[in-house]
Symmetry: C2
């Protein structure tokens, strides 16, 4: 394919994508294919000789589309949103076209510098404490990670390095592994599975703290755990707080937990993967109060702030802590400006070495929506969740299982878990809307998250009509 | 921006990218900006109200381009190539438009299934042993990681989990951390810095084995290390072999090392990040001999196989080993087909949870180039490196510092390291071509890697003309 053909095909692809998104609600949101469906549709081996673009393109509808779960359908209410907006798509195209890697400043200065400034812009929109900003002389700053899982892990590793150094100062005879065997990290029993995984990867003990009636960790529980663990000779060093849990969008009490962490020298990382985007609205910003006690903070603009995946933004108060956990300097990655102090080499901030020019997406989105446009998006989606909540409240067969704070509604039919499992199965088998479940205090619960950018009130009402209809049938079946 | 504007702007962006790539050699390959240049060019805070697309677009040339290192310029010879092709760009656009996440099979079946089949296609092109393929009943299979660093780490963590279980079977009283304190991993002293980092992250001791005159690890060195470490009570468990080191494209002797690893129960991971793409050519496939002894193998089509970043392909013989290291099953990620055996949930294979639909890029590239088209690309670039080698050989002021096997040439002026440091500085300051250095046996060495897809013989000759001219001036300066 030469440049002339790329121009032609690229424009066709833009139209294909536009057509796809324009007509997405006509597609069945959740696919009907069975495991292994795709292998039978294509050859066993790659072709020896080039095929034409037409050959490839016609297979998109034949091979790929039947197996797509349409995340951007307004009938998609599963998991949490995965952002998609036109400015971000354009920026991503540009990023692909430039195709530069930003592992060091020198590898593409614009890639590094735009990221640092965009993280400052976004940090200011969130009203993060000054210490989290890079500015020209700050000790903190932000970075774009691929996912919140990576941010959680990077924070844990930085905390591990910091505590090991600290303990070795008092006990120079202790090896790193000996110290690691005494370390204990905490998180909520509602935290995302990736937090437990970070503990596993980092080889440290990760304890899950019990939560209160609102599925949130309180200071008291943490204090108790710390006392017990210290009495047993362990060293508490890391706490991953969640603002907006995956199951029910619960918020740990970081105003209580933060001061304890600070007193005990525990690194507090805040995972606000989903909820973080809402903090750009003044009415939701109080949910972030307590961030001043944190060492690191992370949320995913690629979830709810209209920046296409992947863009997980993370800030630290002391970038030296992060860099210290990873820094390696082979000659082929050294460059003239390295020691100048003004320069950020993001490879020291993350697990991978290579990195795409992801801050372009953030730049395009922040500018083309403006702060107000993004606030509108958040507010609209919260209103839609509230609308669904009010429909539920008016039907006494249902119960709401967690406070509806943002765009997620957790609900169930009053009755057994089996009843609700069957309801969910019938909902998803209808293929008209898509939901996933969660477990809350032993109950099997259905989650409706407002996901697509184009979700409107009518989609919420259609979803409700379907759910109540299937619920009525189910209750009737059970009655007979 | 509505869909109609996206159609317009998207097409303009396709032309912008095509223009950029068509005229890239007219741009200075390495930027002249100073650290901190970008912050001064844009506002301090994000705008409150939306800006127009025109506002954003005009800043691309004003703000971004002056700070870009042009990785796809035919005058770019630094690091290793970062792939860029039109089919991959188109596939990436489609992936962005679909915007689905493939963390489980159910989250988008096509995303998971195409990946599994593409990794089989590619595995067959490389003539990997059958055990590495998934097929319909295989125990192995492939996955796309973001980078080789992640593949190295995932393999190390899988190996760590496997050995811990194994040792605990004999010593049920030993804790995981106690066992970890005895573990020892090996790699070459020429291995990429990410291998050392994987050891750091995984909390295990990583020893660098000495290399021979060709910068390769031999079996004898490993055998010696294992004996010493076992005698000291340590447990060797992981070896990361490199095929095509970053510094000099050296190849560890895996036909010697593999059998030792197998006998000792050491997990052998092969990192062929750069060189792996060449193994699709029969004449280079012997370099991969010994892969049959490996537990896992990884290379980066995003380096040298025309698939845009990121696409790092990894295969394992027993996927249960990988999954076992990570598996966590919260209810919100469970789905009906999970236990069917036919289904792959790639979230268990990697560090992040979310993942883009990256196999589309592989599919487009493999089909639109065909095996032969990709072989041609590799062969052409190796021939260009050989051409540069022959120019060097004809100038006795220079020496070649490592065998030229693929597309990398390591060379220096005969003389001191300082002389060569100055030469490199002058070359890069010319901004006409871009190189990075490496260190080989204490020598400061210049690396010329054939990178851009569009590099031709004339670019090699222009580079050589510049290098010899600057060398002459330098030698003349030194003489006076």
């Amino acid at each position: 394919m030469d440049i002339a053909e790329f121009r032609k095909r690229g424009k066709e692809m833009v139209d294909y994508i536009a057509d796809y998104l324009e007509n997405i609600e006509k597609r069945q949101v959740y696919p009907e294919v069975q495991p292994g469906y795709l292998r039978a549709l294509i050859p066993d081996v790659a072709p020896d000789e080039p095929e034409t673009y037409e050959d490839v393109l016609k297979d998109i509808e034949r091979v790929i589309m039947p197996g797509i779960t349409h995340w951007h359908s307004p009938y998609f209410f599963a998991y949490f949103p995965c952002a998609n907006s036109f400015p971000a798509l354009l920026a991503d195209m540009l990023s692909g076209g430039l195709g530069c890697l930003g592992f060091t400043w020198a590898a593409s200065p614009a890639c590094t510098e735009l990221e640092t400034v965009m993280l400052d812009w976004l940090g200011k929109m969130l009203k993060l404490p000054e210490e989290f900003l890079a500015g020209t002389e700050g000790k903190g700053g932000g970075v774009i990670q691929g996912t919140a899982s990576e941010a959680t892990l990077v924070a844990l590793l930085a905390a591990r390095t910091r505590i090991v150094k600290h303990v070795q100062a008092d006990h120079p005879e202790w090896t790193e592994v000996h110290i690691m065997s005494k370390l204990v990290a905490y998180t909520s029993n509602q935290a995302h599975s990736s937090v437990e995984r970070a503990g596993l990867i980092g080889g440290v003990n990760m304890k899950k703290l019990p939560t209160d009636g609102k599925f949130a960790v309180r200071g008291e529980e943490m204090r108790k755990a710390i006392e017990e663990d210290k009495a047993a000779g362990l060293i508490p060093f890391y706490f991953c707080a969640t603002l907006g849990t995956t199951a029910s969008c619960a918020f740990d009490h970081i105003t209580e937990l933060g001061p304890i962490c600070n007193t005990e020298g525990i690194w507090m990382h805040i995972d606000a993967a989903y909820a973080g985007s809402a903090f750009i609205c003044p009415e939701f910003r109080p949910l972030l109060d307590g961030v001043e006690f944190a060492d690191s903070f992370n949320f995913n603009p690629h979830k709810w702030m209209l920046v296409n995946f992947d863009c997980s933004t993370m800030w630290v108060k002391r970038r030296a802590d992060i860099i210290g956990a990873f820094k390696m300097d082979p000659l082929y990655l050294k460059h003239d400006h390295q020691e100048s102090g003004l320069v950020t080499d993001y490879r020291h901030w993350q697990i991978p070495l290579g990195r795409r020019f992801r801050s372009l997406k953030l730049w395009f989105v922040l500018r083309m929506y403006g702060r107000r446009g993004l606030q509108q998006h958040i507010r609209k989606q919260v209103a839609l969740a509230k609308e669904f909540e009010s429909l539920l409240l008016a039907d006494e067969r249902f119960e709401i299982c967690a406070e509806v704070v943002l765009g997620l509604v957790c609900f169930r039919l009053k009755g057994s878990n089996d009843l609700n499992k069957t309801l969910l199965k019938r909902i998803n088998n209808s293929r008209k809307i898509h939901l996933v479940p969660c477990q809350l205090a032993g109950l099997f619960v259905l989650r409706l998250a407002v996901c697509a950018r184009t979700t409107e009130s009518r989609h919420i009402h259609e979803a409700w009509t379907l759910i109540t209809q299937l619920a009525s049938e189910l209750l009737c079946d059970n009655h007979h």
